[in-house]
Symmetry: C2
Subunit: 217 residues, 2 copies
DNA sequence: TATTTTTTTTAGATTTGTCTAAACTTATAG
DNA sequence: CTATAAGTTTAGACAAATCTAAAAAAAATA
């Protein structure tokens, strides 16, 4: 079993490797954990002793299979709790992260099984992120970032790759929530901003925003 | 805000003072926390510095009003989560304690308000214990311990004052669960054991068991 | 290749909660 | 009213997770 802090390190390493693939650097982890590189080095050694990461000095770390599974399990718990908070307790999608961050560390396999069943085995969390199964497998979701689409193309909002409350509230205001059908009506070359039609309304999104919206074509 | 450990100390002190009233002794806390007296003394000083307990050397401690409120708040969370686990996730009443022990430390007032509403504002947890409101007030429940009843008297099973899984499973087996109507049909002077009728069945309970069953007459 | 910059690690300290062993208070019993 | 027992506190140490400052390694640059 891992400590609260070890779990957070594993999760952070997992999220970073999902983006960068290859080995994860000390400083990147320090950033993600809001801590200092020296602390990360110490913790890395502990995780390496427990065979949760492979570590060579100055070379960064990589999760072992055991480590990956532990991390995915935390992600699974986090996302299931988020579904609970939104679907059952009527929280908004920008309000649930911090609470799920705490709930994800509650340790009971039975609890998560039953929660999963209670929520009717959801496949995605309120931000569209896939929920892995008990064995750590994800249902592969075929999606494209909105900024890659061309004029005239259309699709469904499937998820987001940025979870800050500010960003999520912005999307809410635009009406760009999960499941919405969109069509690209215009792209400004100068700044890459896009005009979309969503439910017969026309809205504008900056490139910064479109980069973080996942679309199913 | 209190740490996880501080919260557990407050809760333990609260539960002990509910039984003993007067000041709570160091060793009693050490027992309840499964730790040593020396550790308790250290923590007591910390809690006293934070004005959560009143403390005089060698005289034990007493919760201050702030401390009592913090403790009751944890009890409230614990009991609401127990209701959730039993009512929504179909756990049995002897399975929920350890999980609620973890969930009670999740820190979000909003979460607890919404959970309370989701559960339709329950007044009691699955063991019959009253759930305090946000302000720390309990609805006073008029009840008597089963072992105080006389032959011929009857009442409703309202709660239990012992929460070990073994005890709860024993009651389950006897059919002595919350809300059941009982009548005392016989008392053995020798050992204080009782014969009851519950739903037209006749069962026997030892004095040790009857002491821990709360009855509404 | 030599030098500078960036990144990572070590060394030593700090905080929180714990422990053991010894010292000290208070209660109990002749 | 002393002697012993019971209960409590202090002193000193330790483990977990963190930090700062300094040293070391790797990468980037001239």
């Amino acid at each position: 079993m891992q400590s609260y802090t070890e779990e957070n390190y594993l999760k952070t390493i997992y999220h970073i490797s999902a983006v960068t693939d290859g080995s994860v650097q000390t400083n990147a982890i320090a950033d993600g954990m809001q801590t200092k590189a020296a602390s990360v080095t110490d913790m890395i050694k502990k995780l390496a002793d427990k065979a949760l990461v492979d570590y060579k000095k100055y070379q960064g770390v990589k999760l072992t299979e055991t480590g990956r599974l532990a991390a995915v399990n935390i992600v699974r718990k986090h996302r299931l709790w988020e579904v609970f908070l939104v679907d059952k307790l009527n929280f908004k999608w920008d309000e649930v992260h911090d609470i799920a961050e705490q709930l994800e560390h509650v340790n009971s396999a039975e609890l998560i099984e039953r929660l999963d069943a209670f929520l009717a085995f959801p496949k995605n969390d309120p931000h569209g992120d896939p929920i892995p199964d008990k064995e750590g497998n994800f249902a592969a979701a075929a999606c494209v970032k909105l900024n890659k689409l061309k004029i005239g193309e259309q699709g469904l909002v499937l998820g987001v790759s940025e979870h800050s409350p500010a960003f999520l509230r912005h999307l809410e205001k635009l009406g760009l929530t999960l499941g919405k059908q969109i069509t690209i009506t215009e792209i400004t070359d100068f700044d890459g901003s896009m005009e979309l039609s969503v439910e017969s309304k026309t809205i504008n999104v900056s490139r910064e925003v479109s980069k973080h919206i996942l679309i199913k074509i």
